[in-house]
């Protein structure tokens, strides 16, 4: 199959189907409503389920129920919708159910606006819901990468029995770019008999499975949290993904940026290079686990004077960048949060102001 021109939102919907996910529950919200529009047409064609819930709260709990029964399931929403789902996300994380969430982030807080934003970095990587849980968070920078991340998200969610969050923004959702889908459909995994409440028919043992998040005894809850932590630690060992850019030069500034903002930064690095000024970038593809060690090492390069976290928010990822750099270089933040994506020229002015 060759390349086709597709809107990010529609490509995300198609990617989920091709990953073998035939259950989609959602509630419409700009700027991701095209996913629901697309799947309302496409899911019946492939024998799948499209279900519009009465609210995001309902959708979150439908996802919990379906995933607990062993179904491969996903949803898409945007910032305020994800807030409403956050209670369910906490329960799903505790009960260790694999669910894929896509957040096409809009500006906040509150109702905010519908333009591109990365203001849900904290919500996605540090909680959102209550309790000690982590989501595996991936951030695409193109429509093609959004497709690849959606298709990777399902096996990862099942490998860890943990929700995976894909953090996009309005531009990734609304923009059309050429995409290529892999030919084959993924098949259903067979490892669910050990834990899902998927009926006794197919199971070898007679032991009933229990999907729950209530552990009233201190001992059992402690044990449960230790198990979860081990899982998050394993993610940190095995799932860090990032893309370095122009890193083999004697760069004077290291940029850390993800998603749409990282594309602007790529142009910035090219333009500055043409002027004879070298800068480099680490683009986190996973926001949790965060590429701490690669950023630390890149910052330590002798030529590197400063580290810049450039984000579409008022300074969120910068805390993780500071944590990674560990005080070895000064860390600065630059960003905008109204929906107006900074141009390369604006970012270049900011970088030059430090030299």
């Amino acid at each position: 199959m060759g390349k086709i021109l597709m809107k990010g939102n529609e490509a995300i919907g198609e990617a989920a189907i091709r990953a073998g996910c035939l259950n989609y529950f959602a509630y419409p919200i700009t700027p991701q409503s095209e996913v629901a529009e697309y799947l309302s047409r496409r899911m019946p064609e492939v024998g799948g389920v499209f279900l519009q819930g009465e609210s995001e709260i309902a959708v979150g709990n439908m996802l919990f129920g379906a995933a607990g029964c062993g179904a491969r399931v996903f949803t898409t929403s945007s910032s305020p919708g994800i807030s409403l789902m956050s209670e369910a996300i906490s329960y799903i994380s505790s009960a260790q159910c694999p669910v894929v969430f896509v957040n096409i982030v809009r500006g906040g807080p509150g109702l905010g606006g519908i333009l591109p934003s990365q203001a849900d970095y904290f919500q996605a990587t540090k909680g959102g819901g209550h309790g000690d849980y982590r989501l595996l968070v991936m951030a695409p920078a193109s429509v093609q990468e959004a497709v690849e991340m959606v298709m990777t998200a399902f096996p990862l969610a099942e490998k860890y029995r943990n929700p995976v969050m894909i953090l996009g923004d309005g531009l990734i959702g609304q923009m059309m770019e050429p995409v290529e889908f892999p030919e084959h459909l993924r098949t259903e995994p067979s490892n669910k008999d050990d834990w899902a409440t998927n009926g006794m028919d197919t199971r070898k043992s007679n032991k009933p499975n229990l999907v729950k998040s209530l552990f009233l005894s201190a001992e059992l809850l402690e044990e449960h949290n230790v198990i979860l932590k081990a899982k998050y630690d394993r993610m940190k060992q095995e799932e860090v993904r990032y893309e370095p850019y122009n890193i083999d030069t004697d760069y004077q500034a290291l940029i850390v940026s993800f998603g749409t903002m990282s594309r602007v930064c790529r142009t910035v690095i090219d333009d500055l290079k043409a002027e004879g000024f070298e800068t480099a970038m680490i683009r986190p593809q996973t926001l949790f686990p965060f590429p701490e060690e690669p950023i630390k090492q890149a910052a330590l390069k002798e030529s590197c004077k400063i580290v810049l976290s450039i984000e579409l928010n008022m300074g969120q990822m910068v805390e993780d960048v500071e944590r990674s750099v560990q005080g070895t270089r000064p860390v600065h933040w630059y960003g905008k949060a109204g929906g107006d994506v900074p141009t390369p020229e604006e970012v270049i002015d900011v970088i030059k102001s430090f030299f």
């Binding site: 021109l5 519908i114 609304q174 923009m175 059309m176 594309r263 790529r266 090219d270 929906g339």
Partner: protein, 177 residues
């Protein structure tokens, strides 16, 4: 080399569609492309615009303040975007609806009475395709033959619309002479 085209007009003039066809054509020719719509809060009948970025290497920032070219289908969009076009760019003006110029002496201004030409062909709805044909013929941004193929493909599910749209592309090309 990267080139950017801004298409702008009223909602309903088929602005997003001609941007889509150009992006598709460039993709068929092997270029990297991005099609970025305006999706901010707009009222019905408000302005609609989209930006098409065409490049021979991966596209960095798809957010462009100063596009290389402009196709303006109504008066407000010409006023808004003409000052932003880069020098030596092509500015197509739908002179059926716009009675002013770009007020620039450093761009290649092309007046195309797209609505009148479309009316003569039998439907005002193809004014966008006339403008697209004129723009591609003048800017040579993509191969005209590939554009023909992509226009045809775009209407493949509504076959009875193919002849009038093919005629519109040709009339646009003539208007660009």
């Amino acid at each position: 080399m990267q080139r950017e085209v801004m298409f702008a007009g009223f909602g309903g003039q088929g602005i997003l569609l001609i941007g889509n066809i150009l992006a598709h054509t460039a993709m068929e020719e092997g270029y990297e492309v991005a099609w970025v719509p305006s999706y901010g809060p707009e009222m019905r009948g408000g302005t609609a615009y989209c930006l098409v970025v065409i490049s021979d290497r991966p596209i960095g920032s798809p957010i462009i303040r100063n596009p290389m070219h402009l196709v303006a289908m109504n008066h407000p969009s010409l006023e808004k975007f003409a000052p932003m076009v880069k020098p030596n760019g092509v500015v197509v003006i739908n002179s059926s609806l716009i009675h002013i110029g770009s007020n620039r002496d450093d761009v290649d201004e092309l007046l195309v009475p797209a609505n009148d030409i479309a009316n003569d062909l039998g439907s005002i709805k193809v004014a966008n395709i006339v403008a697209l044909g004129a723009f591609v013929a003048r800017s040579k941004i993509v191969d005209f033959e590939v554009l023909r193929k992509c226009v045809q493909e775009k209407f493949s599910s509504k076959e009875k619309l193919i002849p009038i749209n093919m005629a519109a592309v040709e009339e646009g090309k003539k208007a660009a002479r």
